[in-house]
Subunit: 411 residues, 2 copies
Amino acid sequence: VNGAILCIGTELTRGEIENTNATWLAEQLTTLGVEVRVILVVDDDDARIREAVASAARAADVVVSTGGLGPTTDDITTAAVGRLLGLALKRHAPSLEAIRARMARYGRAMAPSNEKQADFPEGAAVLPNPHGTAPGFSVDVEGARLFVMPGVPGEMKPMFETNVAPFVRARRTAGMAQVRMKTFGLPESTVNDRLAGIEEALCVTIGYRAHFPEIEVKVRARAASDAEAAEQARTAAAAVRERLGRVVYGEGETTFPMAVGALLRERSLTMATAESCTGGLVGKLLTDASGSSDYFVGGVVSYANAVKTGVLGVDPATLEREGAVSEAVARQMAEGARRVLGADVALSLTGVAGPTGGTADKPVGLVHYAVATRDGTVARKILAGGHRGMVRHRAAFAGLALVREILLDAD
Amino acid sequence: VNGAILCIGTELTRGEIENTNATWLAEQLTTLGVEVRVILVVDDDDARIREAVASAARAADVVVSTGGLGPTTDDITTAAVGRLLGLALKRHAPSLEAIRARMARYGRAMAPSNEKQADFPEGAAVLPNPHGTAPGFSVDVEGARLFVMPGVPGEMKPMFETNVAPFVRARRTAGMAQVRMKTFGLPESTVNDRLAGIEEALCVTIGYRAHFPEIEVKVRARAASDAEAAEQARTAAAAVRERLGRVVYGEGETTFPMAVGALLRERSLTMATAESCTGGLVGKLLTDASGSSDYFVGGVVSYANAVKTGVLGVDPATLEREGAVSEAVARQMAEGARRVLGADVALSLTGVAGPTGGTADKPVGLVHYAVATRDGTVARKILAGGHRGMVRHRAAFAGLALVREILLDAD
């Protein structure tokens, strides 16, 4: 099955918003086994929408479009598709009722402009929208199946899952499966080298997606049935884990801070932070996960030296002698945080995030970090590349990786 | 001048990376006065690349393409363009030398695969790449000018600025100018309503870009010359400021935390944080800016109640009576942070970030926050909508907005 994605909206051709719909749809279709041949983005212009729909339909078996279904005058996708196909628009009574009911629920009166959202090309299948006023529709265009959906991601995604995904699955000639593995700690080229040969030996394809500073490894399998493909993907995933070891920290939607949190929770341990150059980022990452209060007690952001000494109890003489960015200070920060915040495990970071403040001895990107537990304190350092945001992000992950390593080694 | 953008790469049609190049190019071209008519994304397939180049050239006067100039076998953009135009590829000696020199500088030997990066269609103008091995080129296609650039953003952007931007400027029939204003505190529809009439009265166009939870307002002017357009844009920008007042916090690349930081710096004041539900996010936002150590001393992330009482000195009886998410606790957290961390201004936040933990009295999204200064403590609350990440982000900005309000009111 070949696919095409069409995104409609002048806000996209002007670069006013990121086209996250295109990326999401491309990933979903790929996972369903569809080869996406083209992604087209056009502004809200009747002629260009018609041309894009026609050209997408020529290129693919399934075309998914987003955008241009709103109530305003520049939302013209439905009319353009109708014109392209020579089909009159017809008002769909159940959709009109659903829009009216939805607006009443939010205490808003039905405007005439909303009524056009219930118009569809004659013969089109209506795709209900439980999350917004704009239903979608589906219609045949030059032998391809076109799915027209709204541009709001929260409305489009469920509509895709309810309508497009089953359509594609029913047309697939092969079974499909995918396992997404999350890794941290090796560059993409090394991960790639380590996995050499698995694709050929185990009949899968392996894809990579870099989410700095992590690499996601996707194992995809095709077989006679979905169950067979799942079996094949699981076998290959086991081989990937074998080759990468601890570098694989989880699967699917797991994040690295969540993986560290799960280890703490399993061991009934609590954690605290003492952050200098990361300024609160590690705490933010740990608490992105709901339920993190099970293990995260809190932290001290000791940006100023006075906070390092006054709150965390770092020795002023050490600070004077070694400087704030030093192994000795990182150790004392971690030990201080563990004591002051009353946690089992404490992670500290102190470094030069840049772009200024670097010296020959302590260049931009140098970060000392330490983890204190009841068994003692382990310190490390990294020299992270890139701009300030990258240095801070990389350092936060390195710190969390040291916590993970210590927890795993203790077993 | 009409434009088209073409992005080449299977990693894009598979959704493995976000297409940030397309958004950036669309924004740049729009700012230069180019009407972008289509954005095309295709995989690394010879026939589809040729078809996309031809179709983009028919739609536009200027076509910019990114991707497919690397050394590997799936990088075929140059060959496909040559084939489309019936032009043989010719090795460009100065480019070959530049690639060799660059690789030598990084201690790498020149591989045969790198040599093809010095091949260009006969007659094409070579676009040097000071930031990578792949030069770009520019050539006429069916009356349009095509610029072929690498996909790495750090290489593509300077190449665009050095080559495409001057080409477009030279062909513009009108002068252009833009002022970007950053706002926080009003929803997009309200900002839009408040600015009604400015476009018509002052001959500018106003665009909006939502970066949750902020709204950027872009004023664009066209006139006989760039200087005249700049004058027109400045007049309109002044009108926007007049209508929006304090909601405009800065221009260009200024971020909201930077704007708050600038107010602190001007007044020689220091700031500290006491964060519960935001878990360190406010500290992270403040320290995203280099030089924030001028005013930010640090913070306490008091996720657990024991940290609120033990480190910040919140009264256990208040905590017991009012609950952690309460005005009284927010006040004591801010006052405690100001005292313990030794800052002039302290911001605290405590709330229910969700998705679980909400009650009828204290629903998900409720956040109490307070700012303590030597003049006393001001407390506020918000009920933020959306998922956990949105609640936390919105709350962090609301807290920083209160700091800003207090600093501005004190003048």
